[in-house]
Amino acid sequence: MALKDFLASLKSIRQHAQEAFAAAADKKDLEAARIELLGAKSGQLRKVQQGLGRVDKSDKPEAGRHFNEVKTLLESAFAEAQQRLAEAGASLPERETDPFDPTLPGKPVRLGQLHPITQTIRSMKEIMGRLGFSAVEGPEVEDDWHNFEALNISRTHPARDPLDNFYLATAESHGTPRSAAGGNAKGTENGASLKNKSGQRRPMLLRSQTSTVQIRVMEDRPPPVRVISLGRVYRPDTADSTHYPMFHQIEGLLVDQGVTMADLKSVLRLFYQSYFGSDGKSEADRVHVRFRTSFFPFTEPSVEVDMNWQSGWMEMGGAGMVDPNVLRAVGYDPEKVTGFAFGLGVERICMRQHGITDIRDLYQNDVRFLEQF
């Protein structure tokens, strides 16, 4: 027998044995493999050893050396496998006697979740972030300058009516809500009030829109501005399935040289396309935006925005080009820059997306509700 053939048979048994020992799942398997490979009477290794006698005499020393190496290797592989099974058996003492039921539940892990409104806001922020809009926040208690005046809402505008706003009560009566619509905010024992720089008392109120933040941002920095403001807003409404006196708004603002309504429409289309999830590769998935003429004091032109939805149009919110009076109020030059703004009610979109039919459920905080999102 040629040395070459002998070595080949050694190699083959080595490979086979290592695999068999490593694969043994329990002691029975391992014992069977041991008998097959290392059995003293008819194990494969024994058979190979018999072949050693037939190797040419001159090659015998080398063949013997190789045989011994492989033998040692196999014995230690067997010992390793024995050890492995012993350890596994130690940690599962019942393993051999008791049946194992893999369908028993795993150890429970307590998982929390973000509120659906937070999830909606995050997702919107993230998409607008990709479109270059940075998120900003501002105070929820506002003065009438930021909530009305700077937004081109005149002193006589019905939007200032005390019945449509949560004015804060103060010790002294303050002029504006009264002159706006008569029903003066009632004085209470509470002495909270606000004076502006020139010492005049200014009414404070819970902001009725997040546009207030846009004013603060523009007052704070020169154009270009590309932000979304978001947060809680408050309007007197009797709570029912679609109304709650507190809700969330997201408003986008882009002011720069050369911003047009085409930019507005395009940004909104990209936003809706991304938000409503499809890649828009097929025409059926493609989102389109429709503008309807509307009126807001702080934009001109003003539009209501619809997007195509289930072969109809879905109202998304108001938008428009920032009114030159607003730009002037924050010290921008409307001859140099233009801008657009748009707003979205977070609850409405969140509810529609998740099939929530009662807005009050969002603020009930029943964990069975929260755990579904």
């Binding site: 307590r110 998982l111 929390g112 979740q113 973000l114 509120h115 937070t118 972030g129 270059g132 998120a135 900003v136 105070p139 929820e140 208690v141 003065d143 006589t156 019945l163 949560f166 004015y167 804060l168 008569g182 029903g183 905010a185 909270a192 606000l194 004076k195 404070m204 819970l206 809680r232 408050y234 709570a239 006196p245 507190m246 047009t260 309504m261 085409a262 930019d263 429409k265 395009s266 389109h288 429709r290 503008f291 309807r292 003429t293 009126f295 001109e300 032109p301 003003s302 209501e304 080009m321 009114d323 030159p324 603020y363 009930q364 905080n365 029943d366 964990v367 069975r368 929260l370 755990e371």
Partner: protein, 723 residues
């Protein structure tokens, strides 16, 4: 504004299908709110069959001109490029001069910029002609008698409210427009009596109030079947005054709705003539000569310049100059100038909303059609960065979620009781809203904890077994003469005990600011079980430990301090708690549980996110890892009960030397027999590691020895059993 399809056809041809009409009106500013088929043919017994469409259009507050059929017809005419035909009423005057039959005085011209009156004598009150009654029925307006119906009809035709008085019921045949007198009351045509505020604008005769100006007429002077002589009022009343009166008395009428939005000055006289013409035709009578007309006309609308390039600048599309001029002219504008780069227009009197160039741009845009504006413009790319605070707050929310909490959202306003039951952040009286935000909740909250406890109560009521809630929201702390301070807080409520919740907060801190440490000082509050409440603060480890660990410095030569004596370290910690306030943590007391009707154990915590966000190291840098193994030493130190772990830890940290990697508290053991009364033993271990080589047993023992010595000197601590 409900519009009748049949009626519209009086002024403009409607060759288009109804759907197309409403679609284009919707896009150009008159949003379709509803559509209803009306008419006799819905009732097969009706003798004369007629049908109509009631088209309900939403009219925005800037477009009072569309609160009448003519205004809507004008929009249709412009959109479909159709001629508009408007009647020009020329009622025949036959009687004596109106001034000999009635007198009008306007005492409050600021509340009534214009008052006109015409007089018709000898009318016959009766039913309206069917076509007129049908049109009113389409609009859902009650049909009363020919005179009243005609005044309503004209209002719905042109948008100008009118009022007809029974002239014989006006004392002295006088009309006085004035403010209500103190204590004056008034019975309206709804037969209810109203107390009038002194600034209410009223129409009075020589003796008493006969109508609330622009809002509602009175019973005594209303047109009845016996009426023969009429005074027809067409006027302008100040929007604000009308709105206040309507609001105060909850008396909203189609008339007040229109005055609140403003009426067209020339349209006032048109409406008066139109009304008289129809009354003469359908109720008979003789019209007195002339009209009483009091008021100073407003200044003429100014010229508005529209530069053609502004259209592209704002809309992003070009509209040919000819088309721009055509649109503005069709809308009623008067062109005073046109050249190759601009046009000048005077807006029609009924469009008080058009005063600026941008207003004309909008007119062009909405008539030309927003559908012409592309939705695939290439918007400039910009980088956007998330603010530090924004991303920190997301991490905070994510960490809370990872620790098993559900995020709650609760109302920002609470009841006064909730303000009073937990006040860790301020003692100032809360800001209150003039009307409650919801039910009795009229206070801007100063802590989120009561709201979360109420949410917990809701869940207990629903038998939800695990209630782990957190909320991130603002509280409003009043400042004198300033905007309130709005703190952004994180509050949580858990069924776990004090240390479980403390562990959550430590976990949060470790995630966001691993170089900072949490400090706790006992704090009593009735919401918290006795001894189970604390104030929390956070500070950089380098400040808490003193510089010893972080930059070696000479130690004060250690004079032994007897147990119980305040060490400088302790004083510093209290100072730190004041310098770096972070929040509160505690298990609820029986009182606290009772306030919220809670049954199970409840622990709450509330922290200020400000310091946490500031502490966040936005970009982490790697601490090189030592390749050498650590060495551990256990310590079991017996100290007096008054000694706190925080001091043991601080002293350990200070004296362990430069190789200290970790201190791990294990447990506290108490046994009066073995340890002695008032003693406890603290079990903890330290882990040491050097970056320069494997520490020897001697080095580790020395570190342990230093710690034991220092604990002995500063706190009177001794190794248990000398080990």
């Amino acid at each position: 504004m409900i519009v009748s399809w049949n009626w519209l056809k009086d002024y403009v041809e409607l060759p288009m299908p109804l759907g197309e009409l409403t679609e284009r009106l919707t896009l150009s500013g008159l949003n379709l709110e509803g559509l209803e088929k009306v008419g006799d043919d819905l009732d097969p017994r009706a003798p004369e069959r007629w049908t109509d469409w009631a088209i309900d259009l939403e009219v925005t507050s800037n477009r009072p001109d569309c609160l009448g059929h003519i205004g809507v017809a004008r929009e249709v005419a412009v959109l479909w490029n159709q001629p508009l035909s408007i009647p020009s009423p020329q009622p025949q005057e036959v009687g004596p001069a109106v001034s000999s039959l009635a007198h009008v005085t306007v005492e409050s011209p600021s509340l009534c910029p214009r008052y006109t009156a015409r007089v018709i004598r000898g009318v016959t009150i009766g039913p309206s002609p069917k076509w007129l009654a049908d049109r009113l029925r389409t609009l859902g307006i009650a049909v009363i008698n020919n005179v009243v119906d005609i005044s309503n009809y004209v209002m719905m035709e042109c948008g100008q409210p009118l009022h007809t008085f029974d002239l014989s019921k006006l004392a002295g045949s006088r009309i006085v427009v004035r403010q209500a007198r103190p204590g004056e009351s008034f019975t309206a045509i709804d037969h209810r009596q109203y107390e009038l505020a002194p600034d209410t604008c009223v129409i009075a005769d020589a003796e008493r109030t006969v109508a609330l100006a622009g809002v509602m007429g009175g019973t005594e002077s209303e047109v009845s079947t016996a009426t023969t002589d009429l005074l027809i009022e067409a006027a302008d009343f100040a929007p604000l005054s009308v709105r206040n009166t309507a609001r105060q008395l909850s008396l909203h009428s189609p008339s007040s709705f229109r005055f609140e939005r403003g009426v067209d000055w020339p349209g006032i006289d048109w409406a008066s003539r139109r009304c008289c013409e129809l009354i003469l035709e359908f109720a008979g009578g003789e019209l007195a000569e002339g009209s009483i007309d009091i008021g100073v006309p407003p200044a003429a609308h100014p010229e508005i310049k529209l530069r053609f390039n502004q259209i592209e600048r704002v809309l992003g599309i070009t509209v040919p100059g000819e088309q721009v001029r055509g649109i503005l002219t069709a809308l009623g504008g008067h062109e005073t100038h046109a050249c190759d780069h601009c046009v000048k227009f005077i807006a029609p009197t009924w469009r008080a909303d058009l005063t600026r160039e941008i207003d004309l741009v909008e007119e062009v845009a909405r008539i030309h059609g927003y559908d012409k504006i592309p939705e695939d413009a290439s918007v400039k790319l910009t980088a956007s960065a998330r603010s530090h605070e924004d991303s920190a707050r997301d991490t905070i929310g994510d960490t809370m979620v990872a620790m098993g909490f559900s995020e709650a959202m609760t109302l920002s306003a609470v009841t006064p009781e909730w303000i009073g039951c937990f006040r860790p952040w301020t003692t100032a009286a809360p800001l209150t809203t003039a009307t409650p935000v919801l039910r009795r909740a009229n206070c801007l909250r100063q802590s989120l904890v009561p709201s979360l406890l109420a949410a917990r109560r809701t869940n207990e009521t629903l038998s939800n077994p695990v209630i782990e809630l957190f909320e991130i929201a603002g509280v409003y702390l009043p400042e004198i003469e300033e905007m309130p301070k709005e703190l952004r807080l994180l509050a949580l409520t858990s069924g776990g005990d004090f240390f479980t919740v403390k562990g959550y907060l430590e976990g949060l801190l470790r995630t966001l600011a691993p170089q900072w440490q949490l400090l706790a000082e006992s704090w009593e509050d009735r919401l918290f079980a006795q001894g189970r409440g604390c104030r929390l603060s956070i500070a950089p480890a380098s400040i808490i430990d003193g510089p010893a660990l972080h930059e070696p410095k000479l130690q004060e030569s250690g004079k032994p301090i007897s147990p119980g004596q305040v060490s400088p370290g302790q004083a510093d910690q209290k100072q730190l708690a004041r310098d770096f306030p972070w929040g509160v943590l505690g298990e609820l007391s029986p009182w606290g549980l009772k306030q919220f009707e809670l049954r199970g154990r409840t622990t709450v915590a509330e922290i200020d996110l400000g310091p946490l966000v500031n502490a966040v190291q936005r970009v982490r840098t790697l601490d090189l890892l030592s390749p050498y193994p650590p060495v551990h030493r256990d310590l079991n130190v017996v100290v007096g009960e008054s000694v706190r772990w925080a001091d043991v830890e601080r002293i350990t940290r200070t004296h362990a030397g430069p190789h200290l990697e970790r201190i791990e508290y294990q447990e506290t053991y108490r046994d009066p027999q073995r340890l002695g009364k008032g003693k406890k033993s603290l079990l903890f271990s330290i882990q040491l590691r050097s970056s320069k080589g494997t520490l020897t047993r001697e080095q580790a023992d020395q570190a342990r020895e230093r710690i034991v010595t220092a604990l002995g000197q500063e706190l009177g601590g001794q190794l248990r059993d000398g080990k």
